[in-house]
Symmetry: D2
Subunit: 466 residues, 4 copies
C-alpha cells in the first residue's frame, strides 16, 4: 500500500513483520547484484502474465494496459541506465514491481495476482537458460566452422598421431582437427536435448500449489514460445534440473576445449613446434624478453575447472533439499552466470585463435617421417600374408628393438635381417614404409585415409548447414 510511504512499503511482504530487516541480511540474502541481468526476461514474463490476467478477466483491460506501458517504460529506463536500482528491494523482481507501482499507482500491485516469486524466478531462469543454450550453440557452430576450414586446408598435411603422447601412426591434420569437430557436434546435440527440457513453462505454479484464480497458463506459454507446461506445480518451483543439465553440457564443452587447449600448448612448445600462433593471440613475459606465451590456449585448458566447480556447486546445492522452494535455490545464479559466460567467451576466442594460427606443416611432416610409426603397417603386412596378428606383432617388435638398438630407422634394416624375425618378411615391406602410403591405406570408415576424411568433411559440411 504505497500510501503508507517509507521504505518498508515497497517490500512485498512487510505485513506480519514488526522489525526492519537487518542491512547485513539484506546484503546476504538479496540477489540484486546477480539477478539484475535477468531484467529483460523478467519484464517479458510479466508482460505475458499481465495480458493473460486481462484476457481471463482477472484484471481489467485498462489495468493491463497501464501495466504493459509501465513495464515498457521501465525497460527503457533500464536500457538507458536510468533505473533507480534499490538493494533493499532484494532482487530484480521486486525492484521492477515497486517501480511499476511508483509509476502507475496501486494498480501496479495487481501484476502479482495469481503469481509468486517462486514461479516468477523459475520462469525467468527458463527464459534465460533457453537463450544461453542458443548462444552456446551459435558459438559452437562458429568454432566448428573454423575447424572445418582448417581441416579442409590440411587434408594432405601429415603429422604423427599420438597415443600415450608417444608417436603412434601417421595421420592427416584434417583428420586430427575433425576429431574436435565431432566432439563439438555432440555438444550441440546435447544442448539441443537440454533445450527441449528447458522449454517448459513453470508460470502458474504459484508459490507451490497452483492458484485459485482462473488463469490460462497455456496461452502465456504460447506467447513466450514455450513448448509446454510443467505437469506439477511443486516440481515447477523446486526444479533446477534444466540449469544443472545446461551446466553439465557446458562442463563437457569445457573438457573439449581443454583438450584442444592442451594440444595447442604442446604444439606451440619448441619441442613440437607444430603451430605458430599470431602475435595478437599470445603475450610476452615481464622479465624474459624472448617469451611468446600461448596464454589463450592455456586459459582454454584452465577454464573447464571453473565450470566443473559450478557444476559441483549446483549439484551440491540441490542435494537433499525438501520440496518445494528453498532459498538455497537462489544460489544457482552466480554459479550459472559465471560458468556460462566463461564458456561462451572461451568458444569465441578458441575460434579466433584457430583462425589466426599457422600450422607448421614442415615440422609436422618431419616428425611423421619417423618410420617407427609404421611398425603397425609392417605387422599388418605380415598378417595380410597369413601370419596370425600376434606372431606378426611379435616379429615386428623384435625388428623395432634391433633398429632402436642401432639408433636407425626401420628401413635401414636389411631384408635378410627381417627374415630372421619372420619368414614372411621380404623386400615388399620396404615399399610400405612411407607415411603417405600408410595414411592412404587407412581407408576404412572413420580412418585417416583420404576417402574417409573426404566423407567426414562432407558430413561436417552438412552438419554446419543443417
Amino acid at each position: 500500500m504505497p500510501s503508507e510511504g517509507g521504505k518498508g512499503s515497497l517490500k512485498p511482504w512487510g505485513g506480519r513483520f514488526a522489525a526492519e530487516t537487518d542491512p547485513l541480511v539484506v546484503e546476504y540474502t538479496g540477489s540484486l547484484g546477480t539477478d539484475r541481468r535477468l531484467w529483460r526476461h523478467d519484464i517479458m514474463g510479466s508482460l505475458a502474465h499481465a495480458r493473460m490476467l486481462a484476457r481471463q478477466g482477472i484484471i481489467s483491460p485498462e489495468e493491463a494496459d497501464a501495466i504493459v506501458r509501465g513495464l515498457e517504460d521501465i525497460a527503457r529506463e533500464i536500457e538507458a541506465g536510468e533505473f533507480p536500482w534499490r538493494t533493499e528491494l532484494e532482487d530484480v523482481h521486486m525492484n521492477i514491481e515497486a517501480r511499476l507501482i511508483e509509476k502507475i499507482g496501486p494498480s501496479g500491485g495487481k501484476l502479482h495476482t495469481a503469481r509468486s516469486r517462486n514461479d516468477q524466478v523459475a520462469l525467468d531462469m527458463h527464459l534465460y537458460i533457453r537463450e544461453e543454450i542458443d548462444a552456446l550453440d551459435q558459438r559452437l557452430k562458429g568454432l566448428q566452422a573454423a575447424l572445418f576450414e582448417k581441416a579442409r586446408a590440411h587434408t594432405a598435411s601429415l603429422l604423427p598421431g599420438y597415443t600415450h603422447l608417444q608417436r603412434a601412426q601417421p595421420v592427416t591434420l584434417a583428420h586430427h582437427l575433425l576429431a574436435y569437430f565431432f566432439m563439438f557436434q555432440r555438444d550441440r546435440e546435447r544442448l539441443a536435448d537440454a533445450r527441449r527440457r528447458t522449454d517448459m513453462m513453470p508460470l502458474g505454479a504459484g508459490a507451490l500449489a497452483g492458484t485459485s484464480f482462473p488463469i490460462d497458463p497455456v496461452s502465456v506459454a504460447k506467447e513466450l514460445g514455450f513448448g509446454g507446461l510443467y505437469a506439477n506445480s511443486m516440481d515447477a518451483v523446486a526444479d533446477r534440473d534444466f540449469v544443472v543439465e545446461t551446466l553439465f553440457c557446458a562442463a563437457l564443452i569445457g573438457v573439449h576445449l581443454s583438450r584442444l587447449g592442451e594440444e595447442l600448448v604442446l604444439w606451440a612448445a619448441s619441442e613440437f613446434g607444430f603451430v605458430e600462433m599470431d602475435d595478437a593471440y599470445t603475450t610476452g613475459s615481464s622479465i624474459m624478453p624472448q617469451k611468446k606465451n600461448p596464454v589463450v590456449a592455456e586459459l582454454l585448458r584452465a577454464r573447464a575447472s571453473r565450470v566443473f566447480g559450478a557444476l559441483v556447486g549446483l549439484l551440491t546445492l540441490l542435494k537433499a533439499l525438501p520440496l518445494a522452494y528453498n532459498l538455497d535455490l537462489q544460489e544457482d545464479k552466480p554459479l550459472t552466470f559465471d560458468a556460462l559466460d566463461a564458456v561462451k567467451v572461451s568458444l569465441e576466442i578458441a575460434t579466433a585463435l584457430l583462425e589466426t594460427s599457422k600450422f607448421r606443416v614442415d615440422r609436422m611432416r618431419a616428425a611423421a617421417a619417423d618410420d617407427y610409426l609404421l611398425a603397425t603397417d609392417m605387422a599388418d603386412y605380415l598378417a595380410s600374408r597369413g601370419a596370425p596378428f600376434r606372431e606378426a606383432h611379435l616379429a615386428t617388435g623384435k625388428a623395432v628393438a634391433l633398429a632402436a638398438s642401432r639408433g636407425l630407422p626401420l628401413r635401414a634394416l636389411a631384408p635378410a635381417e627381417l627374415k630372421t624375425f619372420h619368414p614372411a618378411f621380404d623386400e615388399g615391406v620396404l615399399e610400405i614404409l612411407s607415411p603417405e602410403a600408410a595414411v592412404n591405406r587407412r581407408s576404412s570408415p572413420m580412418g585417416t585415409g583420404p576417402g574417409s576424411v573426404k566423407a567426414q568433411l562432407e558430413l561436417a559440411r552438412r552438419l554446419l548447414h543443417a
Copy 2:
C-alpha cells in the same frame, strides 16, 4: 608366438621389450580386478569382429569358426567360474585372447587383426553403458509405478505444502508424490538421449587412425545393434563423453533420490510423524532400545555424494588429455561401475521403501489444519474483490500478525477486526478457511486441485505404459 612359451609369450606386446614388467607395475596399471565384469561385452564384440573378418576374407571361414567356438567355450568357462584369470595379463581383453590361443592355437592370434585394444575397450564400454542405461530406465519406471500407486491412493489426503520448510499452503499427498514422478520422468528422458549418443560403434578405429584391412564396420555395428558408427577414428578411441553423460544422468537421479530421502527422514521424525516405515526397512540402535531408524531413507540421501564424486573424478580425468588414447582413460571404470551400481540399488530399494511405508494421513491432516496456511487464500479473496494484490497481501499479513500475537488461528479473528485491515474483508472470508476448500480452489493446470491431479495421474499412467 606361443611356441616360445613362458609367461612373456602371452603378453600381446612383448617384442621390443628386453625386461619383464615389474609386478608392482602389473598391479598398478592392470585393470583385471575392475574390468573383468566386461567379459560378456568383450566376447560379444569379438564374435562379431571375427565373423566380419571372415566375411571380408581377412581370415578364413575355418579360422573364424574356430575362434567363435573358442570364444563360446570361454564364455562357458567364465560363467561356470572355471576360467583361469591371470593378473599378469593386464586386463579382461588379454586374458580372453590368451586363453583363446591356448584353446585353438596360433589362429587365435588372428582375432586381433584389424583391431586394437583402444577400439576394443571403447566398444566394450559402449555395450556396457547401453545396457546400464536400460537397467536404470527399468528401475526408474519401477519407482515411478510405486509413486503412481501411492499417489492414486492419496488424492484426498491433505498435508501442508512447505516452502523454506515453513508450512505454506495445503496440498494433497498425491500432488506431492507426483512431483517426484515427473522428476524421474525427466531422468528417463535424459537417459534416452544419452543412450542415443552411446549407441555409436567405435570398433574399426584401430589404435587411432583406422586400419589398412578391408573391414566392414557397418555390418559389425548392425550385428551388435548399434545405431551408427563414429565418424572419426581419433574421436572414437579418445571419447568417453557417453560415460560421463551417463554418470551425470545418474548424479541427477541421485539428487532426486536425495530429496525424496530427506523428506522421508523428516517425515519419519516424531516432530512430523507423517510416515511409518515398515520394520523391515528400518533398523535399530546398538544402545538405544527405542530407536527405529530410517536408515534406508538416510542412505538414499547420502548416495548422491558418491555419484557426484565419480562425476567429478571422470570430468577431471578427461580434462586436458591430448588425443588420442591415454591410459588415464582406463580409470573411468572403477568410478563408473561403482556409481552406477550405487544408483541402481538405490532405485530398487527406494521403490520397496515407498511400497511398504504407511503415510499417517491423520497426522498430515492435523498439520494441514493450521489455518495460517490459508493466508494466501485470504489475500486472494481480497484481490478477487478488486484490491490490488499488494494491498491484499499487506492487509492479510497484518491479520496474521494479530492472530499470531494472540496465539490463535485466523478464523478466531472477528470480521470487524479484519475490516480494520481492509474494507473488503467480510464474513465470506471465513468460508474459505478450510484446507479442503483451498485445495479444491487450486484447479489451474499444474495445481494441487482435484482436476489437475487427475490430469497428472492420467499423464503418469500414459508415461508408465509408453
Copy 3:
C-alpha cells in the same frame, strides 16, 4: 621506454612482438577486474622490494626514494578512487608499474629489476591469503563467542538429542551448542596450520630460476613479516598449495555452517518450533502473508556449495600442470576471492543470527519429556544390576514395543509387566525416568551432564581468551 609513447609502450613485454594484442585476448587473459583488489598487497611488496634493491646497491638511494614516494602516491590515488585503471595493461601489477613510470619517469622501470610477475603475483597472493586467514579466524572467534554466551545461558535447557533425526537421548542446549563451538575451534586450528605454510615468501624466485642480481630476500621477508623463504624458486612460482589449503579450510567451515544452518531451519519449522528468529533475520513471502522464512539459515546451509565448487575448481586447475608457472594459475583468483568472501560474510551473519534468536525452551523441554528417550537409561539400569548389556537392551526393547503398541509412555508400564521382560526390573526403574535425571547421570567426560558441560564451558572460555 616511455618516450616511445603509445599504448604499446606501457606493456611490459612488447619488444619482440610485431602485432598488437587482440582486444578479445586482452579481455580473456587480463585479470584486472579480479586482481585489482590486491593493490595494497602489491604496493606493500613493491615498497619492500625497492628498499632492498637500494640496500643492496642494485639501484641508487635516490631511485628508491622516488619509487617509494611514487608508490605511496599511487596508493593514495587508488584509495581516493582516482587511479586511472587501464584494462589493456592486463593486471593490477602492470597498472601500478606503468603509473609509477608515468609519475617518476624511466627510473620507475627499475622497480622490476630482479623480479618477475611470477614471483610478484605469488607474493601478493601470500600476503592476501595470510590476511584472509586472520580475517576468518577473527570471525570464527566471534561466532564461537556467540555460541559460548548462548550455551552459558542454557545449561539447564533440555531438548532431545537426535541421531538419524530420531529422538535419542535428552541433552542440554548448552551441550548441543558447544558441539559447534568445538567444530569451529578445529577450523581455527586448521587455519593456523595453513597460515604457517602460507607464511613463506616467494619473492626472489624471479621467473622460475632465481636472479643474477645480488638480492637479499631474507631482509624483504623480514620487512613483510614472513616466517621464512621458499627453498626452491621453481616451487615458489608454481605453488598454489597454500591457496587450495585455505580454500579447503573454508570448505570445512562451510560444512559446519551448513550443519548449523540445517538445524536452525529444522528448529524454525512449526513441527519443531525450537527457535524463534528475530524479524530482522527472516523475510516474508511475496504471496503468502503468513510466512516468516528462515532465509539466513537457508543460505548458511547453501553457501558451502560455492566453496566446494571453488575447491574443486582450484584442485582441477592445478592437476597435471608442468613446472613452473602456467597461466592457468591466474584462474585461482576469481575462485578464491568469491569463496573466501562468501565464508566471511556467512560467519558474520551466523553470529548475528544466533545472538538475536530466541530458543523456545518450553517447546524443547516438552519434546524431551518423551520418555522413550530414556530407554537407554532403562537398559543401563538393568546392566548396572548385572545383566549383560545385550540382554538389557533386548528386554527394554520389548518394553518399548509394548508401550508403543498402546500409545503410552514407558512410565505407564506396570512394574509387573516390566518384570516379564527381565527379572531385574523393579520399581526403582521408574525413578530414573526423568530427562533431568538422565542428563545428570551422563557425567562422564564429554557427556551432557552438568560437570562435563561446566568443564567444556571452562575450556571454551580459555580458548576464547587464548
Copy 4:
C-alpha cells in the same frame, strides 16, 4: 539374549522390532564388505574398553578376562581366514560382538556396556586414519629419498626451465627435481597437522550424550596412544573432519604426483626425449609394435581424479547433516579406503619409476643450448649497467625479434647491431651467453645456482633424517 536362538538373536537391536529386516536392506545398509578391514582396529579398541570396564568395576575381572581372551581368539581366527563373517550382522562390529558371545557366552554381551556403535565406529576410524597417515608419511619420505638421490646425481645436468611450456631459462635437473622434494615436504607437514587432529579419542561419547556408567576414558585413550579426548560427545560421534582433512591431504599429494606424472609423460615423448624409462616400468601396445608407453606416469597423472572425487563425495556427504550421528556417515568408508589406497600405491610406484628411469642429459643439454633462454640475462646485463629494467627488456626483446626473423641464435647478432637497440650493449654481452654461466649467476637464495642448490640439498638431507 542368545538363549532365544535364531538369526534375530544375534542382532544388537531386535527387541522392539516385529518383522525381520528385508535382505535387500541388509545389503543396502550393511557395510561389512567395506568395513571388514577395520577388524584389527575394532578389536584393539574393544580390548582397551573391556580392561577399563573392569578397572572401573563396571564388569568383573573374570568377565574382562573372558572378553579379552575371546577377542584375541577372534583376531587369530580372522588372521587365519577362518572367521565366519555373516552379512546379516550388518558390519564388522556386530560380527565380532556376536562371535564373542558365541565363544564366551552371555558375558560377551557386557562388552558393549557404556559404549555405542556410534562412538565405537568413530574410534575405529580414528585408529585407522592415524595409521594411514603414518603409512602415507613413510611413502612420501621414500619418494623424497628417490628425488634427493637423483638430484644429487644431477647438480650439473642442465635443461631448459619452462614457463607456459615455453623454454624460459636454463636450470639444473637437481633444481627441478628438488622443487618436487619440497612439495612433498609440505604434504608431510600437512599430514602431521592432520594427525594431531586425528589423535583425539571419541570413545566414551556413547550414542551422543555420554554415558551414565562411571567410565574412565582418559585411561583408554592412554592405552590406545591418543593425545587427548574430544571435549563434547555430540561432536565426537558426528565428526568426520579428520577423515576429510586426510582426504584433502591425499588430494594435494595427488596434485603433486599428477604434475610429476605429466612432466614425465612429456619428457618421455620423442619430441622432448629427456627421460628413458626402464622396460619394467612401461608397457607396449596390442597393435603397434614400436610403442613403449609411459603408463605408470600416465596413471600418476590420472589418479588424482579419484581422490578429488572422494573428497567431493565426503564433503557433500557431510553438508547439512544435523547432529549427531546419521547413517550417511557410514558412506565415508568406501570413499576413504579407495582414495587412500590409490595414493599409497601411487607413491610407491612413483618412487620405483624415478629410481629406475634414466635422464637423457645429452638431450636436455642440447635443448638448454638454445640461447634465447638467455634473453633475461641480456636484459639483466643492461640493467646492471644502469638501464631501467623496462628499457633493458624492451631492447632485448627487439634483439630477439631480429634474431628470430633470421632463424639464428642471439649470439649470431653483431655487437654493432645490438648497440642499435641500446647503447649499453657491448661485446661483454657475448660472454654471458652460455647456459652454464647463466645457471651459475643465479646464486640468490632459492635460485638454480650451485650454492643455492647445495643449500637445498643440505636442507633436504636434514629433512629426510629428521
